[in-house]
């Protein structure tokens, strides 16, 4: 395949978008949670729940938007467990998070095995929403501007989240919950309520991200399909320090490294698939090493809050 043919670059961009979006969505959710001081290590599990639920719903109803919503809903439902245990009861966030990852992987794997392992159904492609005029531009027209509706919805969501965190009262409370929950409490706010809402929003996005991965990026559900995306979202969140522009940027860097991997596979360069698969993680580690010193994290992250303990 000619390296610089229009079709090729088109495919590259599409692949790049497909890889970046689930990560972006998951990172948005993780950011909201992290800013409020909650660290959800179970994000892989939540994404898998969202992916499986979305997959089943879309398979049964044939509707992609419905599947996405179902996935997001599953994400909220599952993170309620995390909410009750970690935020309300104050149980250890890391242990519960790990349990969620195991639960998500185990339950979806068992269910899939039960119902679909013999048939391994695949979903079709979602209806693209071509933007008039722009979608006729060569190269980008097919790839960027002919993405399904969901793609645009997600982009809009990212902007909404950014505005929400920066410009609303509630956004300020979320930040306070993560910086100094004592201050928030003394100001008359509710740390528990703020974090609970943040966790549910986080669940919404993680579930949505998982659904995007299954429905749009790949078109099917496979057990354990997240393969570390959740952990990568945590890294993205840490590096972005709550700045949504950085969340978008870092997710794209990751997506790029995955896309480059796929590209290389199509050329004559003879790199083993394993290297391709490793490449994004190596990129992440390198970024971590370089930027490790300048990253910053909400001081109250991971610590449950009890009033009166100073």
């Amino acid at each position: 395949m000619d390296l610089f043919s229009v079709a090729f670059i088109s495919a590259f961009v599409t692949g790049f978008i497909a890889a970046s979006m689930p990560l972006l969505v998951a990172s948005l959710g993780e950011t909201i949670g992290e800013q409020s001081g909650v660290l959800n290590l179970g994000i892989e599990g939540v994404m898998l729940f969202g992916g499986y639920t979305g997959f089943v719903v879309t398979l049964v109803t044939g509707s992609f938007p419905l599947g996405m919503l179902a996935g997001a809903g599953a994400g909220i439902a599952v993170s309620l467990i995390f909410l009750v245990l970690s935020v309300l009861l104050g149980l250890n966030q890391i242990v519960i998070g790990l349990a969620m990852t195991l639960l998500g992987g185990g339950i979806t794997s068992v269910l899939y095995f039960e119902h679909y392992s013999k048939s391994t159904p695949r979903l079709g492609k979602d209806e693209p929403l071509p933007i008039p005029v722009l979608s006729d531009i060569p190269v980008v027209g097919d790839s960027v501007f002919s993405q399904p509706t969901t793609f645009w919805v997600v982009l809009v969501l990212a902007v909404v989240v950014a505005w929400f965190l920066a410009k609303t009262n509630f956004g300020l409370q979320i930040k306070a919950a993560g910086q100094n929950p004592n201050s928030l409490d003394a100001s008359g706010g509710s740390v528990v309520r703020t974090r609970s809402i943040a966790v549910m929003l986080g669940g919404f996005f993680s579930g949505l991200g998982g659904a995007y991965l299954a429905l749009i990026s790949t078109g099917a559900f496979t057990p354990f399909m997240t393969q570390g995306i959740g952990y990568t979202a945590i890294v993205v969140t840490m590096l972005a320090r709550g700045r949504i522009s950085w969340v978008i940027g870092t997710s794209m860097v990751f997506g790029l490294s995955v896309a480059i991997g796929t590209v290389i596979q199509l050329t004559d360069i003879n790199l083993p698939t394993d290297v391709i698969k490793m490449f994004p993680f190596v990129v992440v580690i390198t970024v971590l090493v370089i930027f490790a010193r300048s990253a910053y994290v909400p001081p109250a992250l991971g610590l449950p809050y009890t009033r009166g303990s100073r």
Partner: protein, 534 residues
């Protein structure tokens, strides 16, 4: 914002009625009743551990009383949460800042707002200006909280406490870390607020302050209200008379146990501190410890030390005064060896120890009593005995071939527990369960044995009850009398004046002045130097 209906001055705006609050092992508040009046400053006086903070947290809605109740303008109320306290017009300025350092002043102030979805920045700016005028201070809304000086932070805290309109303003030990200039500003703000009919509660452990600031004084001791001096009595009594009655109430039966009366006065900051040591001349002696232009690495969270130099001679106590957070902790850690020098040298007995580690310096006799007793000084989950030998892990006779010799450890521990009067159920109790005073005694026992030569004390009496404060100061004094050298870092000016032979000032990490402690004007001179440009 909240209009108060006309009332006679005699009806208290807030009343505490028979409030009792218990915690495991201690009665923090025992049947306390008192009234707060509009336009008056009510001083709550008591030592650390007397129960002042608990009472405040009950008024602030952070805790609930086990017995008793609160009345607002004669009506019984239930302050169930900080929000409820705010709704009643009760504002609290805590001793330790509750401002979020990474947010701006405006953001911190807007945090309590619940109206609307979007942030009302315009409204907040207007309110800030209004409050600034009320207080007689100008506050820059867009400044980061961490960039403000402590005095300015306090002004913001007061504005925050009054954000929704206040009837009662509670100030918890507001002067503890302020410069004399900031204290003056605070006094002005308080006077203005009084004039606007606010009721002010002023908490302090310094008798001097209570007398000068208060319209009435309530004395707390061991959770009980032991003395009350009303408005009328305070107006017509002299300072001496008030001092007598308060000291009697505070110490009463065990005046003897605290030493003589003069000493009791010192500790309760009833009068100006003065130097209690015999003056010695140190000029001719060779320094035991020489810090020569030392600096610590830059850090985003605290001020580093920059080019600090000082000599300490045998038997000398050198005090380090300064506003908290101006490099004291890095200084202590540089000398102890816990932090790396980025420039300069440290000499001990003439030898360069700049690159020696913590262990080596300990063995030479350099010891460090840290200010963070709970989380750095001891390991709370280990026993008292192990904590006492914690700086000797692996050394004989406590460890042989890597194995712990329990008998030797217990013997040493028993010896130290007796000689330093450490109150503990037994040697194997978890050290974290001990009281603050006993933990401090544990640290002293550990650092001041096995041939110490130079000891760094960082805020050694902070938060301790008066008896232990007295004991600690005696220990420091005795150590120096016997030839030991001391670097005494403290934010308590009285303590520094009482103990030090010389006081150096640290500001912005640099040495900014020196005062030899040879006259009654030492405190004044130090205060003047602290006023200088930061």
């Amino acid at each position: 914002m909240v209009s108060s209906p006309p009332k006679s001055i005699s009806t208290p705006i807030l009343s505490i009625r028979q409030v009792t609050k218990k915690f495991p092992g201690v009665i923090a508040n025992d049947n306390i009743s008192l009234d707060l009046h509009q336009g008056k400053v009510h001083c709550l006086l008591g030592e650390n551990g007397a129960g002042k903070s608990t009472l405040i947290s009950i008024l602030a809605g952070m805790q609930q009383p086990d017995q008793g109740w609160i009345e607002a303008a004669g009506q019984r109320v239930n302050i169930a949460s900080p929000r409820a306290a705010m709704d009643l017009g009760i504002g609290v300025v805590y001793q330790h800042s509750t401002l979020i350092s990474t947010m701006t002043v405006l953001e911190n102030l807007m945090l309590g707002d619940t109206g609307g979805v979007t942030l009302d920045i315009k409204g907040a700016k207007a309110r800030l200006e209004e409050l600034g005028e009320m207080l007689g201070a100008s506050i820059e809304g867009s400044a980061l909280a961490s960039d403000l000086a402590l005095g300015q932070q306090q002004q913001v805290e007061i504005a925050k406490a009054m954000w929704k309109g206040s009837k009662v303003l509670i100030l918890d030990e507001p002067t503890s870390m302020l410069t004399p200039q900031a204290i003056a500003q605070l006094e002005e703000s308080v006077a203005r607020l009084k004039a606007q009919d606010l009721s002010i509660v002023f908490i302090t452990h310094k008798l001097r302050e209570a007398y000068s600031m208060g319209d009435e004084i309530s004395v707390l001791r061991h959770g009980r209200l032991v003395h009350h001096i009303s408005d009328a009595v305070l107006k017509k009594s002299s300072e001496e008379e008030i001092k007598e009655s308060v000291l009697d109430a505070m110490f009463g039966e065990d005046k003897a146990s605290v030493g003589d009366k003069a000493f009791a006065e010192e500790i309760s900051a009833a009068s100006e501190a003065h130097h209690l040591r015999s003056t010695k001349s140190f000029d001719s002696e060779e320094p035991v410890l020489r810090l020569s232009g030392i600096s610590s690495p830059d850090s985003p969270t605290e001020t580093p030390v920059k080019g600090f130099s000082v000599d300490i001679r045998p038997g000398e106590i050198v005090g380090v005064a300064g506003i908290d957070g101006h490099g004291q902790k890095p200084l202590a850690e540089l000398v102890a060896g816990q932090r790396k020098l980025t420039s300069g040298k440290i000499f001990f007995d003439g030898e360069d120890i700049s690159s020696s580690g913590v262990r080596k310096r300990q063995s030479l006799g350099i010891r460090y009593v840290t200010d963070d007793r709970m989380h750095e000084g001891i390991v709370g989950d280990l026993s008292v005995a192990v904590n006492l030998v914690l700086k000797r892990i692996g050394m004989a006779p406590f460890w042989r071939w890597g194995r712990m010799n329990k008998t030797a450890v217990d013997q040493e521990a028993q010896h130290l527990v007796s000689s330093f009067d450490i109150r503990t159920p037994n040697l194997h109790t978890r050290a974290g369960t001990l009281s603050g005073g006993n933990i401090q005694k544990l640290l002293l026992a550990r650092e001041l044995t096995h041939e110490p030569r130079v000891v760094i004390f960082n805020k050694p009496t902070y938060g301790l009850d008066l008896k232990t404060v007295g004991r600690v100061r005696t220990i420091v004094r005795d150590f120096a009398e016997n030839g030991g050298s001391v670097l005494l870092i403290s934010t308590d000016l009285d303590e520094l004046v009482e103990l030090s032979d010389r006081i150096v000032l640290i500001s912005g990490g640099r040495l900014s002045g020196e005062v030899v402690n040879d006259s009654a004007k030492t405190a004044e001179r130090v205060g003047e130097l602290m006023l200088g440009p930061n």
